[in-house]
Protein backbone atom coordinates (compact mmCIF):
# COMPACT_ATOMS: atom_id res chain seq x y z
CA UNK A 1 0.00 0.00 0.00
CA UNK A 2 2.75 2.40 0.97
CA UNK A 3 6.26 2.07 -0.39
CA UNK A 4 8.86 4.57 0.67
CA UNK A 5 12.39 4.37 -0.58
CA UNK A 6 15.30 6.54 0.42
CA UNK A 7 13.19 9.37 1.83
CA UNK A 8 15.23 12.34 3.01
CA UNK A 9 13.94 15.62 4.36
CA UNK A 10 16.05 18.71 4.96
CA UNK A 11 15.08 22.14 6.14
CA UNK A 12 16.92 25.40 5.66
CA UNK A 13 19.74 26.08 3.24
CA UNK A 14 23.47 26.74 3.31
CA UNK A 15 25.02 26.80 6.78
CA UNK A 16 21.67 26.36 8.51
CA UNK A 17 20.69 23.33 6.43
CA UNK A 18 19.69 20.47 8.66
CA UNK A 19 18.77 16.99 7.56
CA UNK A 20 15.82 15.83 9.63
CA UNK A 21 15.11 12.51 7.93
CA UNK A 22 18.07 10.57 6.60
CA UNK A 23 17.25 8.27 3.73
CA UNK A 24 14.63 5.99 5.28
CA UNK A 25 12.86 3.19 3.42
CA UNK A 26 9.88 1.13 4.49
CA UNK A 27 6.87 -0.71 3.16
CA UNK A 28 3.37 -0.96 4.63
CA UNK A 29 1.02 -3.67 3.37
CA UNK A 30 -2.70 -3.24 2.83
CA UNK A 31 -4.65 -3.45 6.08
CA UNK A 32 -1.52 -3.26 8.14
CA UNK A 33 -0.84 -0.82 10.95
CA UNK A 34 2.69 0.46 11.10
CA UNK A 35 3.87 2.28 14.20
CA UNK A 36 6.71 4.74 14.29
CA UNK A 37 8.11 5.54 17.74
CA UNK A 38 10.86 7.83 18.81
CA UNK A 39 11.58 10.79 21.01
CA UNK A 40 10.40 14.32 20.21
CA UNK A 41 12.30 15.83 17.30
CA UNK A 42 13.54 12.53 15.84
CA UNK A 43 11.74 13.21 12.56
CA UNK A 44 8.78 10.85 12.90
CA UNK A 45 6.15 13.52 12.35
CA UNK A 46 8.11 14.85 9.39
CA UNK A 47 7.98 11.41 7.76
CA UNK A 48 4.23 11.40 8.25
CA UNK A 49 3.76 14.91 6.90
CA UNK A 50 5.81 14.00 3.83
CA UNK A 51 3.60 10.96 3.31
CA UNK A 52 0.50 13.13 3.60
CA UNK A 53 1.84 15.76 1.22
CA UNK A 54 2.06 18.60 3.73
CA UNK A 55 5.84 18.76 3.64
CA UNK A 56 7.37 19.43 0.27
CA UNK A 57 11.04 19.32 1.15
CA UNK A 58 11.46 15.62 0.68
CA UNK A 59 13.60 13.68 -1.75
CA UNK A 60 13.39 10.04 -2.65
CA UNK A 61 10.33 8.14 -3.71
CA UNK A 62 6.90 7.68 -2.14
CA UNK A 63 4.41 5.29 -3.71
CA UNK A 64 0.84 5.19 -2.42
CA UNK A 65 -1.39 2.33 -3.66
CA UNK A 66 1.17 1.57 -6.31
CA UNK A 67 1.41 5.08 -7.77
CA UNK A 68 4.39 7.34 -7.26
CA UNK A 69 3.18 10.67 -5.84
CA UNK A 70 4.59 14.14 -6.47
CA UNK A 71 5.66 16.76 -3.97
CA UNK A 72 2.76 18.89 -5.18
CA UNK A 73 -0.13 16.46 -4.91
CA UNK A 74 -2.95 16.32 -7.37
CA UNK A 75 -6.49 15.88 -6.05
CA UNK A 76 -6.47 12.21 -7.01
CA UNK A 77 -3.26 11.68 -5.07
CA UNK A 78 -4.58 13.56 -2.04
CA UNK A 79 -7.58 11.25 -1.92
CA UNK A 80 -5.30 8.26 -1.28
CA UNK A 81 -4.16 9.31 2.15
CA UNK A 82 -5.70 11.55 4.81
CA UNK A 83 -4.34 12.58 8.16
CA UNK A 84 -5.60 12.88 11.74
CA UNK A 85 -3.75 15.54 13.67
CA UNK A 86 -2.43 15.50 17.17
CA UNK A 87 -4.34 18.40 18.65
CA UNK A 88 -8.12 18.19 18.18
CA UNK A 89 -8.43 21.75 19.47
CA UNK A 90 -6.30 23.12 16.64
CA UNK A 91 -7.29 20.87 13.78
CA UNK A 92 -10.93 21.95 13.45
CA UNK A 93 -11.87 25.42 12.27
CA UNK A 94 -13.28 27.19 15.36
CA UNK A 95 -15.90 29.11 13.37
CA UNK A 96 -17.26 26.24 11.33
CA UNK A 97 -20.14 24.17 12.60
CA UNK A 98 -19.49 20.43 12.69
CA UNK A 99 -21.66 19.90 9.61
CA UNK A 100 -19.49 22.30 7.64
CA UNK A 101 -16.33 20.68 8.98
CA UNK A 102 -17.53 17.32 7.68
CA UNK A 103 -18.98 18.62 4.41
CA UNK A 104 -15.90 20.61 3.47
CA UNK A 105 -13.73 17.73 2.16
CA UNK A 106 -16.36 16.71 -0.41
CA UNK A 107 -17.14 20.31 -1.29
CA UNK A 108 -13.47 21.24 -1.69
CA UNK A 109 -12.92 18.20 -3.92
CA UNK A 110 -16.14 19.03 -5.79
CA UNK A 111 -17.62 15.56 -5.32
CA UNK A 112 -21.25 15.96 -4.29
CA UNK A 113 -22.57 18.62 -1.94
CA UNK A 114 -21.26 16.87 1.16
CA UNK A 115 -24.13 17.90 3.47
CA UNK A 116 -26.06 14.68 3.00
CA UNK A 117 -23.18 12.59 4.27
CA UNK A 118 -22.72 14.49 7.52
CA UNK A 119 -25.19 12.54 9.64
CA UNK A 120 -24.06 9.03 8.60
CA UNK A 121 -20.43 9.94 9.13
CA UNK A 122 -21.13 11.29 12.62
CA UNK A 123 -22.95 8.10 13.45
CA UNK A 124 -20.07 6.07 12.15
CA UNK A 125 -17.67 7.59 14.70
CA UNK A 126 -20.20 7.17 17.49
CA UNK A 127 -21.55 10.71 17.78
CA UNK A 128 -25.24 11.69 17.69
CA UNK A 129 -26.39 13.29 14.44
CA UNK A 130 -27.55 16.47 16.17
CA UNK A 131 -23.90 17.35 16.85
CA UNK A 132 -23.88 18.66 13.28
CA UNK A 133 -25.44 21.87 14.61
CA UNK A 134 -22.70 22.53 17.12
CA UNK A 135 -19.52 24.55 17.07
CA UNK A 136 -16.23 22.81 17.93
CA UNK A 137 -15.93 24.66 21.24
CA UNK A 138 -19.15 22.96 22.37
CA UNK A 139 -17.47 19.54 22.10
CA UNK A 140 -14.98 17.79 24.38
CA UNK A 141 -11.50 16.83 23.22
CA UNK A 142 -12.46 13.22 22.57
CA UNK A 143 -15.57 14.22 20.63
CA UNK A 144 -13.51 16.62 18.55
CA UNK A 145 -10.99 13.93 17.75
CA UNK A 146 -13.88 11.72 16.60
CA UNK A 147 -15.01 14.53 14.33
CA UNK A 148 -11.44 14.85 13.02
CA UNK A 149 -11.41 11.11 12.26
CA UNK A 150 -14.79 11.35 10.55
CA UNK A 151 -13.50 14.24 8.46
CA UNK A 152 -10.38 12.31 7.45
CA UNK A 153 -12.61 9.44 6.30
CA UNK A 154 -14.98 11.63 4.27
CA UNK A 155 -12.95 11.19 1.10
CA UNK A 156 -12.78 7.45 1.70
CA UNK A 157 -9.00 7.21 1.65
CA UNK A 158 -7.37 3.81 1.86
CA UNK A 159 -4.59 5.12 4.06
CA UNK A 160 -5.02 7.01 7.32
CA UNK A 161 -2.01 8.78 8.78
CA UNK A 162 -2.27 9.26 12.53
CA UNK A 163 -0.03 11.84 14.16
CA UNK A 164 -0.19 11.06 17.88
CA UNK A 165 -3.98 10.97 17.69
CA UNK A 166 -4.46 10.44 21.41
CA UNK A 167 -1.65 12.32 23.11
CA UNK A 168 -3.86 15.38 23.73
CA UNK A 169 -6.65 13.32 25.35
CA UNK A 170 -7.45 11.92 28.80
CA UNK A 171 -6.43 8.33 29.40
CA UNK A 172 -10.01 7.01 29.46
CA UNK A 173 -10.87 8.85 26.26
CA UNK A 174 -7.64 7.64 24.66
CA UNK A 175 -8.82 4.05 24.90
CA UNK A 176 -12.19 4.92 23.32
CA UNK A 177 -10.57 6.69 20.39
CA UNK A 178 -8.08 3.86 19.85
CA UNK A 179 -10.88 1.29 19.86
CA UNK A 180 -12.81 3.39 17.38
CA UNK A 181 -9.75 3.47 15.12
CA UNK A 182 -9.35 -0.31 15.38
CA UNK A 183 -13.02 -0.87 14.52
CA UNK A 184 -12.86 1.46 11.55
CA UNK A 185 -9.76 -0.29 10.26
CA UNK A 186 -11.53 -3.63 10.30
CA UNK A 187 -14.73 -2.29 8.76
CA UNK A 188 -13.06 -0.48 5.90
CA UNK A 189 -9.82 -2.43 5.56
CA UNK A 190 -7.79 0.72 6.13
CA UNK A 191 -4.03 0.98 6.26
CA UNK A 192 -2.66 3.00 9.18
CA UNK A 193 0.63 4.66 9.88
CA UNK A 194 0.63 5.67 13.53
CA UNK A 195 3.24 7.98 14.95
CA UNK A 196 3.56 8.16 18.70
CA UNK A 197 5.98 8.35 21.55
CA UNK A 198 3.62 6.34 23.72
CA UNK A 199 4.67 2.69 23.53
CA UNK A 200 1.48 1.39 25.13
CA UNK A 201 -0.59 3.03 22.38
CA UNK A 202 1.74 1.55 19.76
CA UNK A 203 1.64 -1.91 21.34
CA UNK A 204 -2.18 -1.79 21.41
CA UNK A 205 -2.59 -0.76 17.79
CA UNK A 206 0.30 -1.85 15.64
CA UNK A 207 1.30 -4.96 13.75
CA UNK A 208 4.81 -3.70 13.29
CA UNK A 209 6.89 -0.93 14.82
CA UNK A 210 9.81 1.06 13.54
CA UNK A 211 11.99 2.74 16.14
CA UNK A 212 13.35 6.05 14.96
CA UNK A 213 16.31 7.98 16.26
CA UNK A 214 17.94 11.08 14.79
CA UNK A 215 16.17 10.77 11.45
CA UNK A 216 16.86 7.07 10.82
CA UNK A 217 15.24 3.78 11.79
CA UNK A 218 17.37 1.83 14.25
CA UNK A 219 15.08 -1.11 14.99
CA UNK A 220 12.08 -2.98 13.65
CA UNK A 221 9.81 -5.01 15.90
CA UNK A 222 6.92 -7.25 14.91
CA UNK A 223 3.86 -7.95 17.04
CA UNK A 224 5.43 -10.89 18.85
CA UNK A 225 8.59 -9.03 19.69
CA UNK A 226 6.53 -6.11 20.92
CA UNK A 227 4.54 -8.25 23.31
CA UNK A 228 7.60 -9.96 24.71
CA UNK A 229 9.60 -6.77 24.83
CA UNK A 230 12.34 -8.13 22.58
CA UNK A 231 14.61 -5.48 21.14
CA UNK A 232 17.55 -5.54 18.79
CA UNK A 233 19.09 -2.17 19.47
CA UNK A 234 20.25 -0.48 22.68
CA UNK A 235 18.11 2.60 21.95
CA UNK A 236 14.87 0.67 21.63
CA UNK A 237 15.79 -1.26 24.76
CA UNK A 238 16.21 2.03 26.57
CA UNK A 239 12.88 3.22 25.21
CA UNK A 240 11.08 0.08 26.38
CA UNK A 241 12.66 0.22 29.81
CA UNK A 242 11.58 3.80 30.25
CA UNK A 243 7.97 3.11 29.37
CA UNK A 244 7.28 -0.25 31.00
CA UNK A 245 8.80 0.44 34.39
Amino acid sequence: MIEVSNLSVSFGSGEARRQVVKGVSFVVGKGETLGIVGESGCGKSTVLRSLAGLDRHWEGEIRLAGNAVDRERSREQLKLAQMVFQDPYGSIHPRHRIERVLAEPARAMKIGDGWSRVAPSLEQVGLPANFAERFPHELSGGQRQRVAIARALMLEPEILLLDEPTSALDVSVQAEVLNLLSDLREERNLTYVLVSHDLSVIAHMCDRVLVMKDGAFVDELDKGALEQGQTHHPYSKQLFKASFL
Binding site: G53, R95, P105, S116, P120, A129, H137, A152
Partner: protein, 300 residues
Protein backbone atom coordinates in the same frame (compact mmCIF):
# COMPACT_ATOMS: atom_id res chain seq x y z
CA UNK B 1 -31.75 9.24 10.72
CA UNK B 2 -33.00 9.87 7.22
CA UNK B 3 -35.65 12.11 8.71
CA UNK B 4 -33.04 14.41 10.17
CA UNK B 5 -31.07 14.65 6.94
CA UNK B 6 -34.09 15.32 4.75
CA UNK B 7 -35.32 17.96 7.17
CA UNK B 8 -31.99 19.79 7.15
CA UNK B 9 -31.75 19.53 3.38
CA UNK B 10 -35.34 20.63 2.82
CA UNK B 11 -35.57 23.76 4.92
CA UNK B 12 -32.10 25.25 4.85
CA UNK B 13 -33.32 28.87 4.86
CA UNK B 14 -35.57 28.17 7.83
CA UNK B 15 -32.71 26.71 9.83
CA UNK B 16 -30.50 29.59 8.79
CA UNK B 17 -33.06 32.11 10.02
CA UNK B 18 -33.45 30.28 13.31
CA UNK B 19 -29.66 30.29 13.71
CA UNK B 20 -29.37 33.99 12.99
CA UNK B 21 -32.12 34.59 15.54
CA UNK B 22 -30.35 32.47 18.10
CA UNK B 23 -26.97 34.12 17.64
CA UNK B 24 -28.66 37.53 17.77
CA UNK B 25 -30.28 36.53 21.05
CA UNK B 26 -26.94 35.33 22.39
CA UNK B 27 -25.34 38.61 21.38
CA UNK B 28 -28.07 40.54 23.19
CA UNK B 29 -27.61 38.43 26.31
CA UNK B 30 -23.88 39.06 26.24
CA UNK B 31 -24.49 42.75 25.63
CA UNK B 32 -26.87 43.03 28.56
CA UNK B 33 -24.06 41.87 30.84
CA UNK B 34 -21.95 44.81 29.78
CA UNK B 35 -23.68 48.03 30.81
CA UNK B 36 -20.97 50.27 29.35
CA UNK B 37 -21.12 48.57 25.97
CA UNK B 38 -24.90 48.72 26.10
CA UNK B 39 -24.72 52.46 26.70
CA UNK B 40 -22.51 52.83 23.63
CA UNK B 41 -24.92 50.82 21.52
CA UNK B 42 -27.90 52.88 22.69
CA UNK B 43 -26.14 56.16 21.90
CA UNK B 44 -25.26 54.86 18.43
CA UNK B 45 -28.78 53.64 17.84
CA UNK B 46 -30.14 57.04 18.85
CA UNK B 47 -27.69 58.76 16.51
CA UNK B 48 -28.80 56.61 13.59
CA UNK B 49 -32.48 57.22 14.35
CA UNK B 50 -31.84 60.94 14.65
CA UNK B 51 -29.94 60.94 11.35
CA UNK B 52 -32.76 59.15 9.55
CA UNK B 53 -35.57 61.21 11.08
CA UNK B 54 -33.73 64.55 11.12
CA UNK B 55 -36.40 66.55 9.23
CA UNK B 56 -39.10 65.31 11.63
CA UNK B 57 -37.14 65.85 14.83
CA UNK B 58 -35.38 69.15 14.17
CA UNK B 59 -37.47 72.07 15.50
CA UNK B 60 -36.04 74.62 13.02
CA UNK B 61 -34.41 74.67 9.62
CA UNK B 62 -30.64 74.09 9.88
CA UNK B 63 -29.77 76.69 7.26
CA UNK B 64 -32.35 79.50 7.35
CA UNK B 65 -30.80 82.61 8.82
CA UNK B 66 -32.60 84.74 11.36
CA UNK B 67 -30.25 87.60 12.14
CA UNK B 68 -32.30 89.39 14.84
CA UNK B 69 -32.17 86.13 16.75
CA UNK B 70 -28.38 85.71 16.57
CA UNK B 71 -26.28 84.35 19.46
CA UNK B 72 -29.13 83.55 21.83
CA UNK B 73 -28.14 81.61 24.94
CA UNK B 74 -29.70 78.16 25.46
CA UNK B 75 -33.35 78.55 26.44
CA UNK B 76 -36.62 76.63 26.23
CA UNK B 77 -37.08 77.94 22.73
CA UNK B 78 -33.57 77.08 21.52
CA UNK B 79 -32.26 74.21 23.68
CA UNK B 80 -28.70 74.63 22.47
CA UNK B 81 -28.86 78.35 21.69
CA UNK B 82 -28.41 79.99 18.30
CA UNK B 83 -25.30 80.79 16.29
CA UNK B 84 -24.03 84.00 14.77
CA UNK B 85 -26.65 83.89 11.98
CA UNK B 86 -29.50 83.10 14.34
CA UNK B 87 -29.74 79.44 13.28
CA UNK B 88 -30.88 76.96 15.91
CA UNK B 89 -27.79 74.98 16.99
CA UNK B 90 -29.76 71.92 18.08
CA UNK B 91 -31.33 71.64 14.61
CA UNK B 92 -27.91 72.00 13.03
CA UNK B 93 -26.50 69.29 15.29
CA UNK B 94 -29.40 66.99 14.37
CA UNK B 95 -28.80 67.47 10.66
CA UNK B 96 -25.06 67.19 11.32
CA UNK B 97 -25.46 63.57 12.48
CA UNK B 98 -26.37 62.78 8.87
CA UNK B 99 -23.05 64.10 7.63
CA UNK B 100 -21.14 62.36 10.40
CA UNK B 101 -22.79 58.96 9.98
CA UNK B 102 -22.42 59.24 6.21
CA UNK B 103 -18.70 59.97 6.52
CA UNK B 104 -18.07 57.19 9.01
CA UNK B 105 -19.98 54.58 7.03
CA UNK B 106 -18.45 55.55 3.69
CA UNK B 107 -14.92 55.49 5.07
CA UNK B 108 -15.47 52.15 6.83
CA UNK B 109 -16.97 50.56 3.73
CA UNK B 110 -13.98 51.68 1.66
CA UNK B 111 -11.27 51.02 4.23
CA UNK B 112 -12.41 47.66 5.64
CA UNK B 113 -12.45 45.50 2.49
CA UNK B 114 -9.34 47.12 0.99
CA UNK B 115 -7.29 46.78 4.16
CA UNK B 116 -8.44 43.23 4.71
CA UNK B 117 -7.78 42.15 1.14
CA UNK B 118 -4.26 43.61 1.15
CA UNK B 119 -3.47 42.09 4.55
CA UNK B 120 -4.86 38.62 3.88
CA UNK B 121 -3.23 38.31 0.47
CA UNK B 122 0.11 39.55 1.81
CA UNK B 123 0.00 37.14 4.74
CA UNK B 124 -1.22 34.15 2.79
CA UNK B 125 0.85 34.40 -0.38
CA UNK B 126 3.99 35.56 1.43
CA UNK B 127 7.35 35.98 -0.29
CA UNK B 128 7.76 38.85 -2.73
CA UNK B 129 4.05 39.70 -2.84
CA UNK B 130 4.09 40.12 0.93
CA UNK B 131 7.21 42.30 0.81
CA UNK B 132 5.82 44.59 -1.91
CA UNK B 133 2.38 44.96 -0.34
CA UNK B 134 3.69 45.57 3.15
CA UNK B 135 6.35 48.10 2.07
CA UNK B 136 3.63 49.96 0.21
CA UNK B 137 1.51 49.81 3.37
CA UNK B 138 4.44 51.14 5.41
CA UNK B 139 4.86 54.05 3.00
CA UNK B 140 1.20 55.02 3.29
CA UNK B 141 1.34 54.50 7.04
CA UNK B 142 4.24 56.91 7.37
CA UNK B 143 2.14 59.74 5.93
CA UNK B 144 0.54 61.86 8.63
CA UNK B 145 -3.10 61.23 7.82
CA UNK B 146 -4.37 64.74 8.43
CA UNK B 147 -1.64 66.31 6.27
CA UNK B 148 -2.33 63.89 3.42
CA UNK B 149 -6.03 64.57 3.77
CA UNK B 150 -5.25 68.30 3.70
CA UNK B 151 -3.19 68.11 0.54
CA UNK B 152 -5.75 65.86 -1.05
CA UNK B 153 -8.60 68.16 -0.15
CA UNK B 154 -6.55 71.07 -1.47
CA UNK B 155 -5.89 69.27 -4.76
CA UNK B 156 -9.41 68.05 -5.40
CA UNK B 157 -11.23 70.96 -3.89
CA UNK B 158 -12.88 71.05 -0.50
CA UNK B 159 -16.02 69.02 0.06
CA UNK B 160 -17.46 66.07 1.91
CA UNK B 161 -16.56 63.53 -0.84
CA UNK B 162 -12.97 64.70 -0.90
CA UNK B 163 -12.78 64.41 2.85
CA UNK B 164 -14.11 60.85 2.67
CA UNK B 165 -11.61 59.83 -0.02
CA UNK B 166 -8.76 61.53 1.80
CA UNK B 167 -9.52 59.85 5.12
CA UNK B 168 -9.95 56.47 3.40
CA UNK B 169 -6.58 56.80 1.67
CA UNK B 170 -4.76 56.86 4.99
CA UNK B 171 -7.16 54.65 6.91
CA UNK B 172 -6.52 51.21 5.41
CA UNK B 173 -2.89 50.45 6.42
CA UNK B 174 -3.62 49.63 10.09
CA UNK B 175 -6.39 47.25 8.96
CA UNK B 176 -4.04 45.62 6.46
CA UNK B 177 -1.39 45.07 9.11
CA UNK B 178 -3.91 43.59 11.50
CA UNK B 179 -5.33 41.26 8.87
CA UNK B 180 -1.84 40.17 7.85
CA UNK B 181 -0.87 39.37 11.44
CA UNK B 182 -4.03 37.29 11.91
CA UNK B 183 -3.46 35.55 8.60
CA UNK B 184 0.10 34.59 9.54
CA UNK B 185 -1.23 32.87 12.65
CA UNK B 186 -4.15 31.16 10.93
CA UNK B 187 -2.30 29.90 7.87
CA UNK B 188 -0.02 27.71 9.98
CA UNK B 189 -2.80 26.05 11.93
CA UNK B 190 -3.70 22.39 11.60
CA UNK B 191 -7.16 23.13 10.24
CA UNK B 192 -5.64 24.93 7.28
CA UNK B 193 -3.21 22.02 6.84
CA UNK B 194 -6.19 19.65 6.89
CA UNK B 195 -7.94 21.83 4.30
CA UNK B 196 -4.91 21.55 2.03
CA UNK B 197 -4.97 17.79 2.48
CA UNK B 198 -8.52 17.53 1.26
CA UNK B 199 -7.72 19.60 -1.75
CA UNK B 200 -9.18 23.00 -0.86
CA UNK B 201 -8.00 25.53 -3.45
CA UNK B 202 -6.01 28.57 -2.25
CA UNK B 203 -9.00 30.82 -2.89
CA UNK B 204 -11.23 28.56 -0.83
CA UNK B 205 -8.73 28.55 2.03
CA UNK B 206 -8.42 32.31 1.78
CA UNK B 207 -12.13 33.12 1.86
CA UNK B 208 -13.66 30.26 3.85
CA UNK B 209 -10.90 29.56 6.35
CA UNK B 210 -8.70 32.59 6.82
CA UNK B 211 -11.06 35.52 6.21
CA UNK B 212 -13.65 34.41 8.83
CA UNK B 213 -10.89 34.37 11.44
CA UNK B 214 -9.81 37.91 10.51
CA UNK B 215 -13.24 39.53 10.27
CA UNK B 216 -13.94 39.90 14.02
CA UNK B 217 -10.73 41.73 14.82
CA UNK B 218 -11.09 43.84 11.68
CA UNK B 219 -14.64 44.80 12.66
CA UNK B 220 -13.51 45.71 16.15
CA UNK B 221 -10.63 47.71 14.78
CA UNK B 222 -12.91 49.48 12.30
CA UNK B 223 -15.35 50.42 15.04
CA UNK B 224 -12.56 51.81 17.16
CA UNK B 225 -11.28 53.61 14.07
CA UNK B 226 -14.65 55.28 13.61
CA UNK B 227 -13.94 57.52 16.58
CA UNK B 228 -10.75 58.62 14.85
CA UNK B 229 -12.59 59.09 11.57
CA UNK B 230 -15.10 61.39 13.25
CA UNK B 231 -12.29 63.44 14.77
CA UNK B 232 -10.38 63.67 11.49
CA UNK B 233 -13.55 64.63 9.64
CA UNK B 234 -14.23 67.26 12.30
CA UNK B 235 -10.65 68.52 12.03
CA UNK B 236 -10.99 68.82 8.24
CA UNK B 237 -14.29 70.60 8.74
CA UNK B 238 -12.66 72.88 11.31
CA UNK B 239 -9.96 73.77 8.78
CA UNK B 240 -12.64 74.46 6.18
CA UNK B 241 -11.73 71.51 3.98
CA UNK B 242 -14.64 69.21 4.79
CA UNK B 243 -18.30 69.78 4.14
CA UNK B 244 -18.82 73.38 3.01
CA UNK B 245 -21.09 75.94 4.68
CA UNK B 246 -23.95 76.18 5.16
CA UNK B 247 -23.87 72.36 5.65
CA UNK B 248 -24.06 71.78 9.41
CA UNK B 249 -20.81 69.82 9.81
CA UNK B 250 -19.82 69.57 13.48
CA UNK B 251 -16.16 70.45 13.01
CA UNK B 252 -17.06 73.43 10.85
CA UNK B 253 -19.54 74.53 13.51
CA UNK B 254 -16.81 74.55 16.17
CA UNK B 255 -14.60 76.47 13.79
CA UNK B 256 -17.15 79.20 13.25
CA UNK B 257 -18.05 79.28 16.94
CA UNK B 258 -14.41 79.84 17.88
CA UNK B 259 -14.67 83.61 17.32
CA UNK B 260 -17.51 83.91 19.81
CA UNK B 261 -16.17 81.42 22.30
CA UNK B 262 -15.48 83.85 25.15
CA UNK B 263 -18.87 85.55 25.23
CA UNK B 264 -21.10 82.87 23.66
CA UNK B 265 -19.63 79.53 24.75
CA UNK B 266 -22.51 77.39 23.48
CA UNK B 267 -21.75 78.01 19.81
CA UNK B 268 -18.53 75.97 20.01
CA UNK B 269 -19.26 73.76 23.00
CA UNK B 270 -22.50 72.16 21.75
CA UNK B 271 -20.97 70.59 18.61
CA UNK B 272 -17.95 69.68 20.76
CA UNK B 273 -20.21 67.68 23.06
CA UNK B 274 -21.78 65.98 20.05
CA UNK B 275 -18.36 64.94 18.70
CA UNK B 276 -17.23 63.78 22.12
CA UNK B 277 -20.35 61.68 22.74
CA UNK B 278 -20.28 60.09 19.32
CA UNK B 279 -16.63 59.10 19.34
CA UNK B 280 -16.99 57.84 22.91
CA UNK B 281 -19.95 55.70 21.85
CA UNK B 282 -17.99 54.22 18.94
CA UNK B 283 -15.11 53.37 21.27
CA UNK B 284 -17.40 51.65 23.77
CA UNK B 285 -19.16 49.72 21.03
CA UNK B 286 -15.83 48.59 19.58
CA UNK B 287 -14.82 47.27 22.97
CA UNK B 288 -18.11 45.45 23.49
CA UNK B 289 -18.02 43.99 19.96
CA UNK B 290 -14.69 42.35 20.69
CA UNK B 291 -16.36 40.28 23.38
CA UNK B 292 -19.56 39.58 21.48
CA UNK B 293 -17.95 38.47 18.22
CA UNK B 294 -15.91 35.75 19.87
CA UNK B 295 -18.09 32.62 20.20
CA UNK B 296 -15.77 31.14 22.81
CA UNK B 297 -15.85 34.20 24.98
CA UNK B 298 -17.34 33.76 28.42
CA UNK B 299 -16.96 36.51 30.96
CA UNK B 300 -15.15 35.28 34.02
Amino acid sequence: MSLVTSASAGSKPGILLARIGRSLKNALIKLSREPVGLFGFIVLLLLIIVAILAPLIAPYSPTTQNLPNALQAPSWEHWAGTDEYGRDILSRLIYGTRITIQTVLAVSVIVGPIGMLVGIVAGFVGGRTDAILMRFTDIVLSFPSLILALSFAAALGAGLETAIIAISLTGWPPIARLARAETLIVRNTDYVAAARLYGASPLRVLFLYIAPMCIPSVVVRLTLNMAGIILTAAALGFLGLGAQPPAPEWGAMISSGRQYMLDNWWVAVMPGIAILLTSLAFNLVGDALRDILDPRHARS
